[in-house]
Symmetry: C2
Subunit: 294 residues, 2 copies
C-alpha cells in the first residue's frame, strides 16, 4: 500500500521543474525532472508542460500540489505571499487553485515585512521548511540563498543572498572567469577563499585577490573556481548575525553545495550544523501542507 500515489508534488523553480510521486506520509516513490523552469513559461504553458513531463501520473485520484515560482507573478497563477510569522497551516490556508476544474493547487510563498516594510521573499523554500519540521535556521543555498529562521514552528524571517547568481555572473562576464574551471576540485582553495572573505568587509576587494593570487603564483587555474566560490559563500556567511550562526542550522539543497556551505559555516565558527535531503524535505512539506487541507 505504501507504494500507492497519494500526492503528486511539484517543485517548479525558475530554471527547472521537479515532479515527485509521493506516498501517504511523504515518502518519494518516483521522480522526474525537466529544464522548463517557470521563468521561461507563459501562464497557459504550465498545464501542458506538467502533462508532458508527468502526464501518466496525473490521474483523478492523485491531487497535485505545487510549490515554487509557479506561484509568482507571470507564473501559472499568482499566489499572494503569506507574511511572517507563517505556519504550515497559514500556507495550507493560502493555497490557490490555478484551474478550477482540476485538483491542482499552488503553495504560497512567504514575505518578510518587519515594521510593515517588505524586505524579503521566498517561494518554494517555505515548503522545505515545513517538511524539515525543525526550529532553528534553515539555509537553502543556491542561485538565491535563503536563510530562514523558525521559532515555535513559525517562519519568523527570511534573508536572501544573491550568491549563486553572482558566482555565475562573475564566471561568465568578468576577466576573473576567463578560463576558470568548475568548483568542487580543491577544498583547500575553497577554504582559503572563505577565510579571506571572513576577514574582508568589501567583496569587490576580496574578488580582486583572485587576480593577485594568480599573479603571485599562489593560485593555479584549476583552483580558481573553488577559491571564488569560497570568497562568495564566505561573504554570505560573514554577513549573517550571531543568532543565525548559533543555529541549530539545517542545510537543504544540492548535496555538493551544501557540503561547501557546511565547510564555510565551520570556518565561521558555527558548530550546530546538519545537512538534510532537499527532495525529501520538499516531499514531506508538500504532504504536510496537503494533509492540513483535508
Amino acid at each position: 500500500l505504501t507504494d500507492t500515489t497519494a500526492l503528486i508534488g511539484v517543485d517548479w523553480g525558475s530554471s527547472n521543474l521537479r515532479v515527485l510521486r509521493i506516498a501517504a506520509g511523504g515518502a518519494v516513490l518516483d521522480r522526474r525532472a525537466d529544464p522548463r523552469g517557470a521563468a521561461g513559461l507563459q501562464p497557459g504553458d504550465f498545464p501542458e508542460v506538467l502533462a508532458a513531463v508527468a502526464g501518466d501520473w496525473l490521474t483523478d485520484d492523485a491531487p497535485v500540489l505545487v510549490c515554487g515560482m509557479a506561484g509568482a507573478r507571470n507564473g501559472w497563477a499568482e499566489v499572494p505571499y503569506r507574511s511572517c510569522p507563517a505556519t504550515a497551516a497559514d500556507l495550507a490556508a493560502g493555497l490557490v487553485r490555478p484551474d478550477p476544474d482540476r485538483a491542482a493547487a499552488i503553495v504560497p510563498g512567504v514575505a518578510f515585512s518587519p515594521g510593515g516594510v517588505l524586505t524579503d521573499v521566498m517561494r518554494g523554500e517555505e515548503t522545505q521548511v515545513v517538511g524539515l519540521a525543525a526550529d532553528g535556521v534553515v539555509v537553502a543555498p543556491g542561485t538565491h540563498s535563503k536563510w530562514i529562521v523558525i521559532e515555535d514552528s513559525r517562519i519568523v524571517s527570511v534573508r536572501t543572498s544573491l550568491t549563486g547568481e553572482l558566482f555565475a555572473a562573475i564566471r561568465k562576464a568578468t576577466m576573473l572567469g576567463a578560463g576558470m574551471g568548475e568548483p568542487g576540485v580543491d577544498i583547500a582553495a575553497f577554504r582559503r577563499g572563505v577565510e579571506r572573505s571572513l576577514h574582508e568587509r568589501d567583496l569587490g576587494a576580496a574578488l580582486f585577490s583572485v587576480r593577485v593570487e594568480a599573479l603571485a603564483g599562489r593560485l593555479a587555474p584549476f583552483e580558481a573556481a573553488d577559491y571564488l566560490s569560497g570568497l562568495l559563500i564566505g561573504a554570505e556567511v560573514a554577513g549573517q548575525d550571531a543568532a543565525r550562526l548559533a543555529g541549530p542550522l539545517t542545510l537543504v539543497g544540492d548535496p555538493a553545495l551544501s557540503a561547501r556551505y557546511a565547510e564555510a559555516l565551520d570556518l565561521a565558527g558555527a558548530r550546530d550544523v546538519r545537512v538534510a535531503d532537499a527532495e525529501q524535505a520538499t516531499a514531506a512539506g508538500l504532504w504536510r501542507i496537503w494533509e492540513m487541507t483535508r
Copy 2:
C-alpha cells in the same frame, strides 16, 4: 614656446588608449583616444597602434613616455613592479624601453607586498599619484577601483576593488540587469543604494534588495541602475578602514563616476574630499617622471 611638444604621454589601459601632447611643465596641448586597449594587443602591435593613432606627433624631438597596462605581462614589454614604499624617483629609475632604437619608455606599476606577501598591484594610477603630488589617499574609481595611500610623497599601499567590473557583470549576466537603464539619472536612488550597503555586511544580500525594492514598488526601472551603482560603491567605501576615510581624499577618474564616489564618501562620513582632473594628473605625472630621468 609653451605650445611646443616636450613629451608625448601615453596612458595605455586594458580597454582603451589615450595619447597626450604635453608641454614642458606638464600642460596638455592636445589629446587623442582609441579603443585599442592593451588587453586586445600582442606585444608587436603596440608600436603600430601608437603610430596609427598619433604618428604625426612622433618626431625625433619628442620622447614618448607610457604608463598603464602596456607594461604588463603580455603588454608591449613587461616592466617589473616597483614595491611600496615607492617614490617618483623609484618609478623613473624603473623605466623600461621596449624598443632600444626609439625614445619610448614605459613607467613601472607598483606592487604592495606587506610582510613580503604580494597583495595588490596597479599600473597607471601610480603616474596619476605622482602628478597629483599630494599626500593622503588617492581614489581612482573605475573597472578596478584603486585606493592608494601616500605618505611623505611615497606610495605606501594600494588596495583594489573590482567594483566597476562587478557592476558590468551584474548588468550583463544576472536577472537584476534585465531591462536596466544607465546610471546617472537619479541621485536619490544612488544614495539609497549607498546607505543600504553601508549597513549591510553581505553584498549578495544587498543585491537581492534590487529585486525586493522593485517587487514592493519602491524602485522604478529608471532608478535601478543608480540604486545598483550605489550598492556597489557603498560596499567599496564601507570596506575601507577609518584611516583611509579620514583622508585627505583625492578622487581621480571619470568626472561623473568621481562625483558619485564623492557622494558616497560624504554619506560614509568622509569630510576631506576633492575631485581632481584625471588627464591633467596623468600628464603632470608623466612629465615629472620624465624630468627625473634627465
